[in-house]
Symmetry: C3
Subunit: 494 residues, 3 copies
């Protein structure tokens, strides 16, 4: 496939990229390329290899059916007959971009957003708006409980009189940790004067920049960054379909999809044989283009069988094939109905999708029928390679793991509640953070790391991760450590 594209692009590449007999490049983009080929050779070369540089929207729209990549019904006249180059994206919708600035006669914005991409990729942008990831900024920062956790994790502690005092984290620190993945708020803060090789320039100062988080709040008020997965400026489908892309935000112990995948048979086959697969084919043919699913294969991509019949339709609402939210807050539960989870409140008044006892706050969560529909979509993919007994057995185990990992979270919660009650730690009753003391941090690890890891390990059949690497062993040990903590602190109180 790669060779095929290289072949297509070769004359174009050889003549310097922008001119010659290749696909038509707009004059505006040629103007950009005149300087930027030299100033930013890396991204220009990436773009030259991209599909964007190789075909016009008009040509791309002639592709119909499952091979179609441009989902907009109509692309504006001025854009359709030139390849998608620098100017096409970075000057698009400039009146909606508060970060637009005057640049050599153009109104340019740096932060290309889903609002821009939707010009051609309307269906995908629409789905992504309904994807819980697009709300990752607000769901974290506007939920007072999670926001406090951010503060306790990222703040700096000072020792004063034998106790620690917390200074809340500044914007840079949050941008560099939680918001790296969740997304920052990018706003125009002002302009700066810069000396460059090409003379003096006025460039914008952006808050929360750089950032490619999935829930980035863009200067045009849209949410997310398509570049989080389809990195600039190749916007490669192969990249988005590679597990390493998801690993950027899903490798740590809080949401260990990638390390689980690595020890699954799927991940094993990908590591060993994936170098020979075709990651660019649309639709993606099960068994022909790839022989074990990547993350995208199960959760996002349009899949067909050997006869070209649809196995799964493409979706950018990434829980379309997922009934459960494994990532426990603080228990595993059915997926929220609305991608904005700040609206959720439990009976105890906490902004959580379950009670502290584990009971789900049902009115905000999808019902059983919707869960079945989503699971049905996922199972259809599994059945491409596995018998129905296999699939049934697999998901029966997952349901059991949801149950037992929730029990182990409940037990840890009970111990913490007892510690609060006995006055060994300060909790909600004392209007104190529930994330700042030793035993509270052990409690967080119980659900955020160990219960979570155990569930991912089951869900994706990477058992090695779910036992001693970060799963059941620690679920069991941590409870004993919490009890020891309480016992020893309790001695003190006597």
């Amino acid at each position: 496939m790669k060779i095929f594209w290289l072949g297509l692009l070769m004359p174009f590449i050889l003549c310097g990229g922008a001119m010659g007999s290749g696909p038509p490049v707009s004059e505006d983009t040629q103007t950009c390329l005149e300087c930027h080929t030299m100033v930013h050779p890396g991204i220009v070369a990436d773009w030259q290899r991209s599909r964007h540089a190789g075909i016009t929207p008009e040509e791309a729209m002639k592709v119909k059916g499952l091979k179609q990549k441009v989902s907009a019904e109509k692309v504006p006249e001025g854009l359709s007959k030139k390849v998608v180059g620098c100017a096409e994206c970075h000057t698009l919708n400039h009146d909606q971009h508060k970060d637009s600035f005057e640049h050599n006669g153009y109104k340019v914005h740096m932060v290309v957003s889903p609002g821009d991409c939707r010009t051609c990729h309307a269906t995908e942008a629409g789905q992504y708006e309904q994807n819980i990831m697009s709300h990752a900024y607000g769901n974290l920062m506007h939920n007072p409980l999670y926001r406090d956790m951010v503060t306790q994790v990222n703040g700096t502690q000072f020792l004063e009189h034998g106790k620690t005092v917390l200074t809340p984290p500044d914007e840079k620190t949050n941008a560099d940790s939680c918001l790296f993945c969740h997304g920052t708020v990018v706003t125009l803060e002002g302009m700066r004067q810069v000396e460059t090789d090409l003379g003096e320039m006025r460039l914008p100062i952006l808050s929360g920049w750089p950032n490619n988080g999935v829930g980035r709040i863009n200067p045009d008020d849209t949410k997310g960054s398509c570049g989080a997965c389809h990195a600039r400026h190749a916007f490669s489908m192969a990249l988005a379909r590679s597990p390493s892309t998801c690993a950027e935000c899903h490798k740590g112990p809080d949401v260990p999809a990638y390390p689980v995948y690595q020890v699954s048979k799927h991940g094993n086959i990908h590591s060993a044989l994936g170098k020979g697969w075709d990651y660019e084919a649309v639709p993606w043919r099960v068994g022909k283009d790839f022989s074990a699913p990547t993350c995208a294969g199960c959760h996002v991509s349009l899949l067909v069988n050997g006869e070209g019949e649809m196995v799964a339709s493409r979706t950018h609402r990434m829980n379309d094939r997922l009934p459960w939210r494994l990532f426990g807050l603080v228990y595993a539960h059915a997926h929220p109905k609305d991608p904005d989870t700040t609206i959720i409140k439990n009976k105890g008044g906490l902004p959580l999708p379950t009670e502290l006892s584990g009971e789900p706050v049902s009115q905000y969560l999808i019902d059983k029928a919707e869960g079945e529909r989503r699971l049905g979509r996922l199972k259809k993919i599994c059945l491409s390679c596995h018998g129905s007994g296999w699939v049934k057995g697999h998901f029966a185990r997952l349901e059991k793991t949801l149950e037992t990992s929730n029990v182990m979270t409940r037990t840890a919660t009970d111990i913490l509640a007892l510690a609060w009650k006995r006055g060994l730690a300060k909790g909600p009753g004392q209007k104190d953070s529930i994330f700042n003391e030793g035993i509270e941090k052990k409690w967080v690890e119980q659900w955020l790391f160990y219960a979570n890891s155990t569930r991912f390990a089951t869900a994706m059949a990477g058992a090695d991760y779910g036992v001693f690497a970060n799963g059941r062993w620690y679920l069991a040990k941590n409870i004993q450590d919490m009890l020891d903590w309480m016992e020893l602190k309790g001695e003190k109180e006597k």
Copy 2:
């Protein structure tokens, strides 16, 4: 190589897989393919790319000498003239398979076992029976001590009156954790009626299903699953020779072969340059087909030098080239003579290959002479690329690491024994589990995680893992933590 096979198979693939002028496919298999190509496109495509689909046993048996892959002296007449397809394996030996069921006029079994594979691969199946992995189920579940550990790791804990009460794990949980790798017991539990696109069907209900564990107890009473490493339905040699295959069960801190390999020079070369190697060549030519060993290279594969002379013969008894069992239970020791380790009892009456003091229970373990023989086979491989001084120095360090890591395990054991004696924890004297209290869990980590990791790091020259990642640093720190635990608990008792 891949291209070579593709070339060979191309006419066959183009004509839909099962018919045409390609290698002869049996009528039974063609019947299977009629539906399953559509129903399970992924595995059919895998099989189409496999050697099984490309050559008949009769043809394969004409290959003699080191290139030979079919080791059986004779393959039954009915099987030898058709490629190895669906029906050939899934209807074979059906009277021995308790899971055989009536399926469209055939007696089919889902669980293809080493008993089936041995029809053509007799030598390998015979070796594997002697491989300790084939006994992985029984060695874990029929050893009362290890069984208790499974219970303590996988059980659910509830808080009652400030103490935890354990509910033992159910079958699903064990299948999803320890037994995922060790293997489940697969038995026919009954039949179920299923609605399918192709009409109503009666399909078997199997216990412990799905599973591909190395010690799976199959419905035909054989042990293991060839698919654990040679995953269905390509049964690719390249896959089995890739380190990611072994990582499925050997990545966690209990037996961290893969993370050690990754930071070794061997692993480095594999990561950087391995994409250009030939993983299908038989025999495997050192330096020509690959330039650094994978797991299989050192432990399994048939290797030759540039002149085609044997460096190592193929073995599926994977400790043929290993004198020591690094994986401490609870100390490193010489390998057991018998793959069934449930027969072992130490002087203290415990089912362990060493005393709690570290002294080996010699009568069950291979003697020095056999150890030398096994080490000799391994060293011969090392010498393909390393001088004798290098190899000598390397193994001298490993012997030292066995000694020091055993000392560090002994010290932890002494601390635990003291805690039991002082009544700070309940041990064998109180007929209590030795795996359920805080200090006992620290003790387990000392040998199962840290001593073990230190030894793997030395053995495979991945030092980075053996110092701060999971080795000596923690060996040393954990002892101080155990002492602190004992001191603080001891205060309490006063």
Copy 3:
């Protein structure tokens, strides 16, 4: 590229490697090959694929400008007209090699050193002498504080009367852990008589062997091993440019460059698309030969833009593009001026580049102007793909992380100081090791693991690693654990 070289070498390979019409091999090397092709097939095959085997120094020196690989102005007459084979390196400078021995009429040394490699690669060897890595042995073992840490990590502990007694580590253990990467001292210890297939031989016994550490002390009194990154005997540039090479020593929690890279966008692109890059091209063209930097790309390699203009000059002093030493000892600080850090003493008399309070010991560290120069070189690389606002924002965050991670180290240090003062642990005041007690080990983890990991995560934009995997979460939690330790121990004292 690979194919290109294969093409070039094909006639040479086909005729058995050493003879025929290929590039001229010296008679001495042909003599070596006569036996070693059989005895060590792996390394001979590696060499046959190498550039060393494919071109004479004389030919290589005709390459001028940025494509030049041989940097010496003159190569000795006797060496220039034959390819670089066994004898060329292993008999070179034999009077300087204390490990030279008589071998079939030749004076051979096993340990080829930077002193040998500099014959052709003078510039690189000269730079490497100034690289802090070349002093890795002495900087660790001749610094009394760090040496004590080695002792506490690698020594064996015994339980006596309820306390632990430490036996210092032997030479083998150190060689197998810290010195594996830092380098051992290799000296000739004597000779040994060996029976081989080719008759009896006298071979040297070397201390500290095998070893490929970056600061190895060689028998010719040079420092380092070029083979640490350019592994023998292909000495592949592709290998040295692959991130897995650096991972050998930079993966553990003490210096987690590789795990951070893996979750960065750079690492993601490398994992997904790097199989198609040209790792052999000199100079290395940004965007053409590779589309995201590897470790070498940012820190070592000669890079050019699409017009062939230099973006960064090659350096083997690997902090030429780095102003800060992230790896805190115990705080992050400006890089030392001299690669020999044993000369550093702080005001408190400790051999550390900062005071225990964090204040830098400025006279030994590069000044602000030099820091700016180094950062300028790095930023120039970043700007190949990123706008100036992006780069500015990135490094502003790094400076903030240096500040906050240093605060979190300071707080842990304050707690430890308090514990020492209260007599809960024995510190410098009691002339006791500062690395041997429970709370001291927690303190080490604060700076060596967590502060360090947080900084690497920021520096290389791999945020996932810097939050829950090994960063800020633990920075915050560890402080609470240290306080709990002190409180519980303090209870005891009452």
